[in-house]
């Protein structure tokens, strides 16, 4: 698990480095374009000068040298114009490349943003072994990174085979109904161990409790320990972005392991305290 996390972090760092390299390359391209524009400007200025000089010479009434100087000037002018033409063609190419780079820069920025979101979510989920803190972090991720307004985390009670709301946001927890495994969308998601996305969500919150906007099973490989049901998004969050689906996938696995390990840790700590108390009692 730890090696896989290190590997993931390594990949993310590598992606971020590639992004930085690309941005650097884009900057160099921008500098080159600016240089070409300056060169273009300089040549245009020279052409105008030469044209004016030639015009003056031609207009001069009895310039004995005009006949000799004109061909030289004309040749020079032609050379400059040819060079200018080449530079303009190159400039057009570079500009086209720049448009492409700009688009790729936007894509890389978006990827960086997405990777940062995923990294932060993953980092925070495994930053503690305190059960309550883990639940709080999951709530924060759904609010701040996905934009959830009303949602609940259900955990499976294997004894009663029910999904009990363990934490929620946006409404009192007493309002969130308990669900039997296999019952309704939330119960079926746990049985199928597959995420559910509702394309046509109801406006009515009570109906959303039965048929939520999104329902994600919390799984550790094939074992499902609960689910996250998202009932409503924040008003400014109109639609899901591709990174949201990545976050749902991340939550399905990482939130499950974080909940499971923190619960085990909390239970074992409690047991240790009990045993310690018992041993202290015996030794007195």
């Amino acid at each position: 698990m730890c090696a896989r996390d290190n590997d993931d972090t390594g990949k993310k760092t590598e992606h971020l480095m590639r992004g930085e390299e690309f941005i650097d390359m884009f900057r160099k391209g921008q500098e080159f374009t600016q240089e070409l524009l300056r060169e273009n400007e300089r040549l245009r200025f020279q052409v105008i000068h030469l044209e004016e000089a030639m015009k003056k010479k031609l207009e001069a009434p009895d310039s004995g040298q005009a006949g000799n100087a004109s061909p030289d000037l004309a040749l020079e002018l032609a050379q400059y114009e040819a060079r200018l033409g080449e530079l303009e063609a190159r400039l057009n190419e570079v500009e086209a490349e720049n448009v492409d780079f700009a688009q790729r820069y936007i894509d890389v920025e978006e990827q960086n943003n997405n990777l940062a979101n995923l990294y932060v979510a993953s980092y925070q989920l495994h930053s503690t072994l305190d059960y309550e803190e883990v639940l709080q972090i999951i709530l924060e991720i759904i609010i701040n990174l996905i934009g959830g307004e009303i949602f609940a985390i259900y955990l499976l009670d294997e004894k009663t085979n029910t999904l009990n709301p363990e934490a929620c946001e946006g409404v009192p927890i007493s309002e969130i109904p308990r669900v039997a495994v296999g019952e309704g969308v939330v119960g079926q998601t746990v049985v199928a161990n597959e995420s559910y996305f509702n394309d046509n969500p109801s406006e009515n919150l009570k109906e959303l409790y039965v048929d939520p906007l999104v329902c994600i099973p919390l799984n550790i490989k094939d074992d499902v320990i609960g689910s996250i049901a998202l009932f409503r998004l924040l008003q400014q969050k109109v639609t899901f972005a591709p990174v949201d689906f990545e976050l749902f996938t991340l939550l399905a696995g990482h939130a499950a392991t974080a909940i499971f390990s923190s619960r085990l840790f909390t239970e074992s700590k409690r047991k240790l305290t009990t045993y310690q108390g018992f041993l202290d009692l015996l030794s007195q």
């Binding site: 920025e109 978006e110 960086n112 940062a116 932060v120 980092y123 701040n144 934009g147 924040l234 008003q235």
Partner: protein, 124 residues
């Protein structure tokens, strides 16, 4: 401004880390963090802050109270303030701007939008 100092006031460690990630892309950026309004005011007085980024809903002292206190203090009244919040209603934005906030960004944030807002306010 060679190396701007930012003060992030946010109760969620997840959001603080995400904002810090974005701000660290500004060369030389220094980031100071606080978990609520009172902590934020303490950090503001002990650091040379160039820009404040604050949440609205926080324990102990919320972001709006913080904005009004900062704006009435001569020492900090010119420090730009960016609100980062889940409150997306128009009235919330108007209230924050009326109190003296310089920009209002709703969650979930896009780091590119956040960076361009910050750079614009600091003229970077």
């Amino acid at each position: 401004m060679a190396s701007p100092t930012f003060l992030i006031i946010e109760d969620s460690p997840t959001m603080r880390q995400l904002i810090r990630f974005a701000l660290n892309r500004i060369p030389g950026a220094q980031v100071v963090e606080a978990s609520d309004g009172v902590d934020g005011l303490k950090k503001l007085s002990s650091n040379q802050v160039d820009l404040i980024l604050t949440d609205i809903n926080m324990p102990i002292m919320d972001g709006l109270k913080l904005v009004s206190l900062v704006r009435t203090n001569d020492a900090y009244k010119d420090v730009p303030i960016v609100i980062i919040t889940t409150e997306g209603a128009k009235e919330d934005k108007e209230r924050a701007m009326a109190l003296g906030a310089n920009a209002y960004i709703t969650k979930p944030i896009q780091s590119t939008a956040l960076l361009s807002t910050v750079k614009e306010l600091l003229k970077l």
